[in-house]
């Protein structure tokens, strides 16, 4: 098996008192090591459900998920979800504490990330004294600190202003490429999906089916700003737009 993860014929149904809702219908795709894949689709189509199933948080589905070995996952959510009663440093190492993996190496990596994102002078601050962008960077450090094999990003930039959104998505992109992290990004934003990913999976409205998988090839792989300027950017945008548009 070349893929880190293979999802085959994934179907998810929700049972309510009134009826049965099919959320995911026969979803199949693979994920290679170091690959960045975006899931785009209409609101409520089940993109986040796919992440929950991949991360083993939801076991109530049919189909198979084949993992290469024991994979470690880490999530980044839409909300920074920093605990207001902990300093940002304590927030950053929260996952390490919970998973009982507070080691010298892991703490050194956290310190490196704090320096990289110019947050080291705010280590002892509480989240309420930081801007939205800074808080989401702390959330990124908390996610990366767990040293995951797969990063699951559930619309992590959508609550940010445009400037922070670009800066932080570029931070995530660069570190994912540098460290060879495998990433799945759930997003509503077509531009973000194109500039961030190696592949874009377009989902239909509920029940979500895969409409199209687009391989994104840009000459420059090092920055999302550069990728944005690429001549192919509009070409990819049009394809995704048409496919999403026909769903609405």
């Amino acid at each position: 098996m070349n893929n880190l993860l293979d999802i085959s014929k994934l179907t998810k149904k929700y049972q309510t008192k009134e009826n049965e809702i099919v959320a995911l219908d026969n979803i199949s795709f693979g994920l290679k090591k170091g690959e960045i894949v975006s899931l785009v689709g209409p609101s409520g189509c089940g993109k986040s459900t796919i992440l929950s199933i991949i991360a083993d948080l939801d076991h109530d589905y049919t189909g198979t998920i084949t993992r290469k070995s024991h994979l470690k996952y880490a999530y980044m959510l839409q909300n920074d979800a920093l605990l207001p009663f902990l300093t940002i440093y304590e927030n950053a190492i929260l996952g390490l504490k919970i998973q009982k993996t507070v080691t010298k190496e892991n703490l050194a990596y956290v310190d490196y990330l704090f320096k990289l994102y110019k947050l080291d002078e705010f280590k002892n601050n509480y989240p309420n004294s930081l801007s939205g962008g800074m808080k989401q960077r702390v959330a990124l450090i908390r996610t990366l600190a767990l040293n995951p094999d797969i990063l699951l990003l559930d619309e992590p930039f959508s609550a940010l202003d445009q400037q922070s959104r670009l800066l932080i998505s570029d931070d995530v992109y660069k570190i994912a490429k540098k460290e060879g992290k495998t990433v799945i990004l759930v997003t509503h934003n077509i531009e973000e999906a194109i500039t961030f990913s190696d592949r874009v999976i377009i989902l239909s409205k509920r029940p979500a089916k895969i409409k199209k998988i687009i391989e994104v090839n840009f000459k420059n792989q090092y920055s999302i700003y550069e990728r944005r300027k690429d001549a192919n950017f509009n070409y990819y945008f049009d394809i995704i737009w048409k496919d999403l548009d026909t769903n609405e």
């Binding site: 991360a55 948080l57 996952y73 880490a74 999530y75 959510l77 839409q78 909300n79 979800a81 605990l83 009663f85 929260l94 996952g95 504490k97 919970i98 998973q99 767990l146 699951l152």
Partner: protein
């Protein structure tokens, strides 16, 4: 320290002092009005007493050496009932939070117990446990415990869902979620519950 900082700290201090001053003034105003209304015969001193009468009685009790004995007995009852009420309330809230099924089963009974006029059970408790400190503490617990459980439990339930999701994604077990997230997030509700509990305990004792 910069001038702006000094100004800010001074402003904060003045605000704190003014709040305390107004609280003191309100107490004085209340006592003064009470005394005045008794003096002019608007309210009956036999039924409502008056601040000056209360002070006279306190002085008399102090002279007879009874005052502090009674205060100490009541204080002991209040402290025991308050501590017990909070410990049991906190434990009860944790049990309800961790066992949601049990919480659903007990929900109507807790609501019923909460709305019961517990003071009316006073004579029954004295008959069962006797006229002693035990009865007083049980009476106080009857009044403060359910309120304490329900307040803290509702505080736990208000933990924002995105924090719970975060802990789930970090594979936190239920005790880590409880002690690292739910309890610290409910800090303000727990303090509010302590305040409620002391008031309820005083009614009970």
């Amino acid at each position: 320290m910069s001038e702006e900082r000094k100004k800010y700290l001074k402003k904060v201090k003045i605000k704190q002092i003014s709040i305390f001053g107004f609280q003191f003034l309100l107490v004085l105003l209340f006592l003064g009005l009470w005394e005045y209304l008794v003096k002019i015969g608007f309210i009956n001193a036999f039924i409502y007493s008056s601040p000056s009468n209360i002070i006279k009685t306190i002085i008399e009790l102090i002279r007879k050496h009874d005052f502090f004995i009674h205060i100490l007995v009541t204080l002991k009852e209040v402290i025991i009932a308050f501590i017990l009420g909070n410990i049991l309330g906190f434990t009860g809230a944790i049990i309800l939070y961790e066992f949601k099924y049990l919480a659903k089963v007990l929900d109507p009974f807790l609501t019923m117990l909460n709305s019961l006029p517990k003071i009316a059970l006073g004579p029954l408790i004295i008959i069962i446990f006797g006229a002693n400190i035990k009865s007083v503490i049980i009476m106080a617990l009857l009044i403060n415990l359910i309120v304490s459980i329900l307040t803290i439990y509702n505080g736990f339930l208000c933990t924002p869902s995105y924090y719970l999701k975060l802990f789930k994604t970090m594979q936190a077990n239920k005790w880590q979620t409880l002690f690292k997230l739910v309890i610290p997030s409910s800090y303000q509700t727990i303090i509010a519950s302590f305040k409620l509990c002391i008031a309820q305990t005083l009614i009970g004792t």
